[in-house]
Symmetry: none
Subunit: 215 residues, 4 copies
């Protein structure tokens, strides 16, 4: 028992920053960066206000840490899908539903909302986000779609544009959870939304069956 004490403490010490960014993320998403007080973050994390400054130089630095920490882990998972799926349709489905499961439906889903709200106030973080998240995500989608087009499964579409159009309903839905969501009981009911979404875009992408095709 006396042995667990230091162990607990050490574990605590190492886990602290993530406990703090987790608390900060939820409040930033809920109220916005400027409207969130450090006291609130500290309270939610169960520490005192001063403790925040042991780990982060300033409120701004905390914001940056929140974004980076929420973004880094999801970077590789998606890119691995490219090799796991050959069929373009399956690949596209895997990417999009994977994003929803790993990001959109988790507490990380607040990050797009937060980043979009604060992009103007944190230009450097916004640049980082666009480079590391948006561009890499776009490249992933682009690879899937262009493979589909190459194989004649998807119709010819503007690659740049389609990527944004495809991801929009998912991001929008994730943002919704942290804005109007709380006032609707429909929260849990994402099923129909996703089903309809996939139905619409896959149908919309699919190349028309050639006249004489017997399929």
């Amino acid at each position: 028992m006396t042995e667990t004490q230091p162990a607990r403490r050490r574990r605590r010490k190492e886990a602290r920053p993530q406990e703090l960014t987790a608390a900060a993320l939820s409040l930033f998403v809920e109220k916005g960066f400027a409207a969130t007080r450090l006291d609130d973050i500290a309270e939610r994390a169960g520490v005192s206000k001063g403790t925040l400054y042991l780990y982060f130089d300033s409120k701004d630095a905390l914001f940056k840490a929140v974004i980076q920490e929420g973004v880094v882990p999801a970077l590789h998972a998606g890119e691995a899908l490219l090799e796991q799926h050959d069929d373009p349709l399956e690949l596209l489905r895997a990417i999009l539903s994977g994003w929803w499961e790993r990001i959109g439906s988790t507490e990380l889903g607040g990050i797009p909302k937060l980043m979009m709200s604060e992009a103007g106030n944190f230009p450097d973080v916004a640049a980082y986000y666009q480079r590391e998240v948006i561009q890499r995500g776009t490249a992933l989608l682009r690879a899937a779609v262009s493979r589909g087009i190459a194989r004649g499964v998807f119709r010819e579409v503007d690659l740049d544009a389609i990527c944004s159009v495809l991801i929009a309903p998912l991001v929008y839905r994730a943002m919704w959870r942290y804005s109007f969501g709380p006032r609707c009981g429909q929260e849990a009911d994402v099923g129909p939304y996703l089903k309809t979404y996939f139905d619409l875009i896959l149908n919309g992408l699919m190349a028309p069956v050639a006249a004489g095709d017997t399929q």
Copy 2:
């Protein structure tokens, strides 16, 4: 000379509130509500800080006015379309491209971003917005889609879900203009986005042509 003064003044006086909300809207959208100082709004509007209090009781009241003013004018325009178009496909296109032209592409396009960011801090305004904007807009879309289904032009889809999915890419694009947009030169290039968007959704909605159809 003494006569023109009051005339100019009166016109000025009546226009004041809208000049103020316009200044407030652009700043709220750019920096967020909490991060925007009344000094900045006053400066952008070309008045003194005290003047704001002649027209609005508080910063919160100014926020509410900004939302209401940006929302009211667009309410009826859309609903009028229902009668102007008979063909469901044309109607749907008219509704969606109408939204983009009247809202999304104008300075009013910032309102969805603002409202989404601040929904948590202004529950009553959010409720108002949801009731007066989202639900009425949804009802409009719903009418168009269900008419299309009824006539066999559109496939059978979940009506509630499809409305959100359909509007998402447009709203998302509007929000983009006020977040990441300023850092991309692609700003002006909405054309391909819209084209691809309509291409995708209309194709995705369209009912499959029956085998023996001669079109």
Copy 3:
């Protein structure tokens, strides 16, 4: 009576900065810069804490203003003495007793103490002070002494060194008033100090009367 109101206000407005620096000076000298709270300054000046920020950007800026304002007015008075006195001995006496009357014995006498205490924390202000106050003051003394030597009234001495040595007892005494002074009742008794000081230095500077001089 209704007329005096705006007048009083306008006068107030213009006089504010000096009321604030005066309050700040006395507290900075008494407690030191870091140990002085802005609340205390505001209270002593009879304003609220926020008012300080209408006139000064920060506590540091207030410090700089305190020094500059306390230094500027005394700059020219001394230099004018050079032309008013021809006799080197009278000139030297006029400079030194003039410093005491205009600076050392007034509330400005705290500035040397303050500047000396804080020189390390405000290198730029210290540089300004040294350039505008110390060097100009030294030049003045130097002119007086070198004139005395040229005329054979004073003995030959190191000009740089003598200037510092001469001013030291006066500055030291001024600083004393704001440190140990308050705990001695002797405060008022500067008379003997000055008398002894002048007696010592003038005697010490005087050239020995040549053997055959008939006085």
Copy 4:
């Protein structure tokens, strides 16, 4: 090996408090008491912040220790001079140059600056300092001067006043080292200053040679 450890440790332990006060002294002198953080002191002393509290109850207690430790050793050295010198002029010279060598030119020279800056914030320490340092130093000087007057070597002067006047240039110069000194390269050049100082005061004190004196 296990034996040397405790030995080194013991020596270390006993030396600790002085290492700490030495670090504190240099920082207090450089930045002032309030502007010096305990972290800085600990870092300069090469210990952790908590260690300071093993030796001193509080920051205030550390300040008092710094003053006492810097003051005690010099107390007796000066008073011993009274018996070592008979000639008043030599005695006075020995006292003053002794002060410069033992205090003014060493790191203890910062103590007068520190004490003067903080006298208002530490009335009890100031009282102690005045009693144990200033008054005893003054008494020493007084003895030397009055012996000189009694023997007809020095002119008649106000004893209280002359003591302050005499020490002022030395203390002033010591304080200078820790304020404006760092910004002048002249630092090393105290020689001319001291030479001029002694030249001035001894000349100024000397009784005029009577007319018929054959010296």
